[in-house]
Symmetry: C2
Amino acid sequence: MHKTHTYCFETGDGKNPLLLGSKGANLCELTQLGINVPPGFIITSEVSHQYFATQSLPENLMDEVIEQITKIERQTGKAFGGDTDPLLVSIRSSAPQLMTGAMETILNLGLNSVTIAGLLEATDDPRFVFDTYRRFIQAFGVMVLGVPEQSFIEQFTFVKSAAGINSDSALTHFQLEEICYRYLNLVHKETGQAFPDHVYQQLEMALIAGYQFWQANFPTAQAPAVNIVTMVFGNLGDDCAIGHCVTRNPQTGEDELYGEYLPNAHAEDVVKGIRTPKQIQDLKHEQPEHYLQLLALRQKLEIYFQEVQSFDFTIERGQLYCLQTRNANLDIAATLKTSVDMVKQGLIKQDQALLRINPESLETLLHPQLLDHQGFLTQGIAASPGAASGQCVFDNDTAIRLSKQGVSVILLREETKPEDIPGFQVSAGILTSRGGKTSHAAVTTRGMGIACVVGAEEFKIDTKSKLAIMGDLRIKEGDSISLDGSTGKIYAGFKATRAPSFSSSLKTLLTWADASASIKVLANADTPETAQLALRYGAQGIGLCRTERMFNVKDRLPLVIEMILASSTKEREDALAKLFPIQRDDFEQMLATLSPHSLTIRLLDPPMHEFLPNEQQILEEIDALSQLFKITQGQRITRETLGHQDAFELAQQSVTESHISSAINKKTLVLAKVRELSEINPMLGHRGVRLGISYPEIYAMQIRSILEASARCLKRRIPVKPEIMVPQVITAQELKIVKLQVSEIQKEVEELYKVKLNFKFGTMIETVRACTRADTLADTAEFFSFGTNDLTQATFSFSREDAENKFLPLYKTTGVLKDDPFESLDVNGVGKLMEMAVSLGRSKRGDLKVGICGEHGGHPLSVNYCHDIGLDYVSCSALRIPIARLAAAQAQLLNPR
Amino acid sequence: MHKTHTYCFETGDGKNPLLLGSKGANLCELTQLGINVPPGFIITSEVSHQYFATQSLPENLMDEVIEQITKIERQTGKAFGGDTDPLLVSIRSSAPQLMTGAMETILNLGLNSVTIAGLLEATDDPRFVFDTYRRFIQAFGVMVLGVPEQSFIEQFTFVKSAAGINSDSALTHFQLEEICYRYLNLVHKETGQAFPDHVYQQLEMALIAGYQFWQANFPTAQAPAVNIVTMVFGNLGDDCAIGHCVTRNPQTGEDELYGEYLPNAHAEDVVKGIRTPKQIQDLKHEQPEHYLQLLALRQKLEIYFQEVQSFDFTIERGQLYCLQTRNANLDIAATLKTSVDMVKQGLIKQDQALLRINPESLETLLHPQLLDHQGFLTQGIAASPGAASGQCVFDNDTAIRLSKQGVSVILLREETKPEDIPGFQVSAGILTSRGGKTSHAAVTTRGMGIACVVGAEEFKIDTKSKLAIMGDLRIKEGDSISLDGSTGKIYAGFKATRAPSFSSSLKTLLTWADASASIKVLANADTPETAQLALRYGAQGIGLCRTERMFNVKDRLPLVIEMILASSTKEREDALAKLFPIQRDDFEQMLATLSPHSLTIRLLDPPMHEFLPNEQQILEEIDALSQLFKITQGQRITRETLGHQDAFELAQQSVTESHISSAINKKTLVLAKVRELSEINPMLGHRGVRLGISYPEIYAMQIRSILEASARCLKRRIPVKPEIMVPQVITAQELKIVKLQVSEIQKEVEELYKVKLNFKFGTMIETVRACTRADTLADTAEFFSFGTNDLTQATFSFSREDAENKFLPLYKTTGVLKDDPFESLDVNGVGKLMEMAVSLGRSKRGDLKVGICGEHGGHPLSVNYCHDIGLDYVSCSALRIPIARLAAAQAQLLNPR
């Protein structure tokens, strides 16, 4: 009893590429599907293994091969080595996975002195016959017999020049015949042996040469199978053709056959670009019958493979052969459209459509894209995705002025500050020479959906002289540049961009996604505008509204600073009283925008010194003011001589000495406060609920704002779902203290507005201790929201900003860390803590709502993980919403809960 | 069938203070022990409960009382209300726990017109009888009948002044008798009723009044029992006495009866200080028989209670009565000595001795103590325990000069720096006006065992003018002050201190402790001196040697800075090559000192900028140097005009311009590096193993130093146990990288020295992620050492320095946190992570050695916790070693493993 070494296409298992190679298995599938494939068979990969091990073919292999060939002879009516209508075959290796650069194919094996005559008789086309023969001798000579390719080329060139011919196609069949004889002589001379004339000897030699070539050049673990397939010819007359098709348009996804063909042609004609292929639609008119055959093939392929297919075909004397097929490479827009269409056409199920799309690939649909990538200048850090092209500006005023004239502008700064926000709002893109992914520019633009590249360190940006200098290159105001915030690349000149397209297919797909998902997708948004964008993108509410973003706006900052500089509780309360109506109106607008969805508002989190200018800056300002004090009247003061806005503005007014000295006094007060508030590790300092407990009047103002805003909405018959969230909690006692405050204010507001308020009270889980004490926190908290940015910092003892500048790059390149834990949620560390928190929290409160609002919330792997550990929602930036929605559906489909 | 409401001392359960009150139970115990206690009985606390609930006594209570009294009458031969030898009793409430301020006792109940006569006959002492009677009438009148005390005093004063008498003791029995009648009349007038004459009526009324008083003034949940006890008198003649004894000397622990007595006296005489008591030793000669009775009583008490007892006695006509006894309050030295003695005397077991001593109380034995606390100036932060007294100095040079003259000095600074260490080494104490428990001064002095108070903010310390100013007070160089580093208090003037006493009892006790303990006690030490101290205190090795402390010494710092400023790996290696022999010699000396104990060396941990001066300081230095540049030659330069040492020293030399400009250049380089290395959150920055992986040459130098030092010791036939420990690890990959480095260097060193090295390789567990990944770390690490300082910071997201300055005080006063987690290990947060790490680590490596080397390691509660979770050792500062050793024993005794 011996093992089978060969399978013909009719019997081979199409689902076993390991044994039959990917191409071989594909041909078996097609054949058994009733598709017209040239008959053939496969020598299994086990034979390769045996050859690699023993350097010999299995004893009985050639007997089996003869049997298989005989079968093909019966099917085709041709004879291998026969003198009439001879059978020619191709022989090619086929690995389990498609590999590029693998062994070349030998075509037309089976030609010799006898079969040449038969082929002449059968085709009545001597030019075709000798052209085919010389190709075969050369391929076999080089690949199997080891004759240098150059020697063949020399002979070929000799005949061509002797005949005074430039183009191969001008060679006559006589000249081609001469080339054949010269080739046979060449082989005899080079190898000392006649060119093998026996067709089975040819086959065996080709086979062995193939195995040896593979063993020398490729991993033997991935042993290939070998396909031996009947040759079919697209160049035997006008009823012949070759072509390549995709079952649908791979760029647009249009539901129509797409591709090219060449009538009466050899594949090499296409490769060499000798003839221009025709559009497949032309075939409809030229060879309507063949076109119908192609349509039938297309339908069969899509029904069977349930994916858009890319296939090669040959039409030999009116007979359509499919040579191979594979899943087509589609643009993401096409993938979306075809998937949705195929669901509607009943070809696939919704789940399949949802699962076949990589959520991250949606990103390109949501941002503008550069149409070309010429003129590369430098590489920065990709900070906020999307492309932008426009004129360079170096200050906010110019940005605003130009944008009003309809000019697209790119704002260039060394680094940015809260006061640059008005400039951001009118710019197509932001470029900074300093800072990382957590810099002000990066964080703010991501929130606003503006393209941004930061840390382009090769640029020296000089705001005073309005220049960006890189080596000899000087970019001045008004010069055009382009940037890609998804790659961090900067380009010279203006470039057209493709606008983002939120197509109807995407909408449909995401609607299906929502229906499938069990984890909800919410957005992080701090303004009504971002909230609206989030809702358009399908957010089911706002999971994180950072109140400090509302503080950090130019017209409010003075009030916030007044509050911070307050030297008594009373003074602080006075300043807060001025902030109160502003915050209340903010919340009322947000709540109304969100209605009826939930709005989770986080109470003030960052340390107070973040709202103050830095020490160096104040010192410089004081210095400038002191200079001003000395300047004699009448002297012309320019911004440049002073350098600082405050001093300049004072100088422009008709200032008195007392004006200046009062300005100096004010700055000196700020300086003292900055120094008092300075911290060694601000990340671990006086912030979050610690601040709230130290200065209860701040949280009181915020809580009252939220509750009065809710009451006002209710009065306007707008249903609202506010949620109050406490940051940086480490112990239940902190929550109880804030909850008590909330309850007292709730009572007052309900009496004042005569309404019954309905809201949730919960906590961020962003300290490690909150995870270990989640059971006690759940006594008071009705919901948890994981702040995985801070939690990751605490788990790793990494300060994100310091890590990204100092050692994270090294840790990634040396493989100490596989991924940046700030981008990809660290399941083994942070994840363990999250699981602990979920399980402890729910042990106390069965209906505890749990979500995540760190930046990880918008990353598919993290969404998947959050689904798996039972979270109720993820909350991410508005522009990540579609990605998260799809990821949420996939998570449920892969691991239903 | 009714419940018993009363128990006589012969039958009451001495172990049931809840039912019988603590005093009552004690009297039952004594009685049943065969000790002569005045006969009596107890009305249970259940009666109190019933009275509180119903405002009436149980129906049959008084019948039971009569029964009990009748029993006493039989025992004593006296009669309650009898006309010959009448029985008098005291009545007092007795709560389950001893309570101060509880109901006063009524003595001598049972006196009336009839019994007065009997008592006169029985005592033949009318003065005693009427004195006793008037006391009883007044006490009963005030407490039971509600007559104002002032009214009694008026009557008493009236009689005294009418008789022209100043002193109570000068009153005759006639005058006392008159007072009695006046009192009886007063009661009649005030209450409208005659003073109750019937003795059982007296008893019942006293009982009810007692219950009502309790209910009005004390928690009714702690219902008292009531004791009714036969009165005995120490003032009936020369064969009478009263006294108080402790079974051993409560200050020294000497094994001899200790106490005082007064012959023929009333307890009030002692209270009022009318007579001076005699030492109990005098009784030996004066009443030898009674003294022998006392010795017998002492022995009985100690054998039974197994603790030193403090007891009251009365001798009535030659008969010794013990009135009560309780565990004596002993000084810690006495506690130690008596406990060890009692073990040796077979009175108690070793375990009892070990368990009865609070480990923290040992601290006072290990540091000098101030003998008085007059002249308090201000309160700072207790930074390093112990007391110091001496002359104030404001700079190191003066400290060194004076200390060489034998003067005890206290070094005063605003804050301290590494360059102050030479000053530390010669000072008795350190006082700073800034900084907290983690400041340089605090951390360094704790390591060195020098008394230190930091953050005494009321002081303005001016080093230039050598003044410490607090309000009007100006302390100048040479003035004496005293400080207590255990309390943080500062005192004016020189004070004597009591030297620390590592007594033989303490040594014995700690030897027993070591034999009992299962968790080992190691020390944190960075120098051979500290290591030696630790060994003297009983450390079983060094669990943490911080190599950066070796860097931070004045003569090495320039080399370290050279290494940091290096602009290439080569330059850095050159600098390291100079550090190498120094580190190697350090380690060789440490290893030799420790032999044969283990020495765990932590590779470099702090971020490099910690070794550089701060930015402000360099800027000032550059400024000073620039001024110098301008100074014309010949002008007198003083340190004051320049302010900075470098500039001053340059000026003192005959400097050239190029000298100065090169100094400026050097400083400018340092400034650039300081800025480059600056971090936003250095605690979470480029430090520990991250530094080691970024600059492998640094760890290579350290590893080679350790291994060569070990090889050299082996060559000297000194057995050593070095352990290499990696800080700040978050993932197994980091450990593998360092381990590979170690293995390569090990091979080289073994070949160089021709020895076989034996050492352990392990990791700090001080990041949260290390806890969650402890299983994978244990693949490479042979030991874990918890760094609970950093782990606590990461768990709470608290920067210790910022927290202690900004919000920890508030969190403690408002009860958000019960304890400071940096002092008391947070079992619920940090502890959970530790347990996770231990269990994961041992799941991979069964014999994994696990310890703790954070500051918590020396705190008894933490030692206990570390024992409970299965740690192998704790490592703490040398001066905490004895405390930890005792705590380790207690942990094992309370929870054996």
